[in-house]
Structures are given as structure tokens and as C-alpha cells.
Amino acid sequence: MTWKFSVNFEITPRIIPTIRKLIAGTARTEGASETDAFTIEAAVNEVLSNAYLHAYAGNAGPLSVDVSYDGIRLQILVHDHGAPITNIPMIPKTSPPKGADHRGLYLVGQLMDEAEIIHPYRDGRGTAVRLVKYLR
């Protein structure tokens, strides 16, 4: 069974736990292990925090989260309309030193089976981050 849904909202720190728990709960419903569900929750949290802090410089701004499942892979696409969230083209594969930028993105790459920065996104504005976790 395949499905998809989208959530459009204004990103603020207060809504981040709600969205990350919604997606983790969705993963559990499709049979994700507790480890995978927590992993997804932590990765989504970092991506949402990045959008708030970097795309909108710590202000509220519009965000879209597209979640889809094809029976094997859970994909989460987080898309903002703000400034670039990073100046690097890819998720770092080695840990940046303490105090450096991009440690959150490194973490995201380690937590998920696939993680990709798409910049600029479809309409030429903002950044998308695509996350995938294989549930089967």
C-alpha cells in the first residue's frame, strides 16, 4: 500500500515537536521499529530546526513537509521558501569539528538511509531536504 500526505505550516520552535512526532508516529504505524522511529524523529527535528534558524533567521516562515510511503521506503521532503539553509551542496559524510557548522546535517546523514539537500528547490526559491528510511 502506498500513500502520501503533505503538511503546510508556519515553522516556529513550538510546532517542531508536533511535526516530528506526527512523522515518527506515521512510521510506527507502518511497522517501523522504535529505533527507526526515534531515528526519523531526531532527523526531522534537525531539518525543521535548520529551516527555522537558517532559512528564516529565527523567525516564523512557511514550510511544507511531504511524507510518502511506497511499501518499503518512508520519504520525507522538507521544503522552505527562505534563504539557503547551508552553503554546502551535500550532507557531510564525516563529522565536522566541534563548534563548526553543519554538524546537524552530518547527524541527519548518519541517522537516515538517504539524505539529500536540494537547492534551489523546484520553484527556484528555498531549500528542500529529502530524507529516506527503509522500513522493510
Binding site: F38, A42, S95, K98, R103
Partner: protein, 112 residues
């Protein structure tokens, strides 16, 4: 929701951290740990009831570790549950601080 408790042990302060550490609550964690470090005692941070941790929480713990080092105090953590532990392992924090399973075990890891 983040809750804190503090116990005065003979050789250290034991700070209990309970709940979710995220962008909103991490400043509370940093402030509580800064207050504890300012007392210039060895510090044991009990993370066993930590339910969630993000990078802002990691940075709060790293800041506390740096402040302890500057004050000549030791920092020992009591191991968090699986998910926060995984975050701290991936970011390298767990490899840099002594980790114990209980306050009693943590006391044994403090310098004499």
C-alpha cells in the same frame, strides 16, 4: 517540558535532567549546568531520564564540559536512554566524557 533536580554528594554535584532537550529547552539545560559548574565542584549529569535530545542540547552539554575543564572540575554523565545516547555517540560526545550507569559508579570515575 524539562525538569531538573540537584543532589549534593560528598564529592560532586549530581544534576538530574528529565524530559526533552530541544531548541526551546536547551537554554534551560545550559543555564542549570552553568550554575552547577560555577560552584566549582565535580559534576555528575544524570541523563537517564532524558527523553529527547537535539543539536542544541548537545551544544549545551559540550559547553558544560568546557566550563568544567576551565574550572578544573570533572564531568561525568550517567548514560541516557537509547535515542539520546545514539545522538551523543554519533556526534562524538560519549567518546569524550566518562559515562557511568549509576551515581555510585559515576563517583568512582571522578579524580581522587
Amino acid at each position: 517540558m524539562l525538569e531538573f533536580g540537584i543532589d549534593e554528594l560528598p564529592r560532586a554535584l549530581l544534576v538530574h535532567v528529565k524530559g526533552e532537550v530541544n531548541y526551546e529547552s536547551a537554554p534551560q539545560l545550559e543555564a542549570h549546568l552553568a550554575d552547577a559548574v560555577a560552584r566549582r565542584r565535580h559534576l555528575i549529569v544524570d541523563l537517564s531520564a532524558m527523553l529527547f535530545l537535539d543539536m542544541s542540547g548537545v551544544r549545551a552539554l559540550e559547553t558544560a564540559r568546557e566550563r568544567c575543564r576551565k574550572n578544573g572540575c570533572a564531568l561525568v554523565v550517567i548514560a541516557p536512554p537509547q535515542m539520546p545516547r545514539r545522538i551523543l555517540e554519533l556526534i562524538g560526545f560519549m567518546q569524550e566524557v566518562p559515562v557511568a550507569d549509576s551515581p555510585q559508579a559515576a563517583l568512582k570515575l571522578l579524580p581522587q
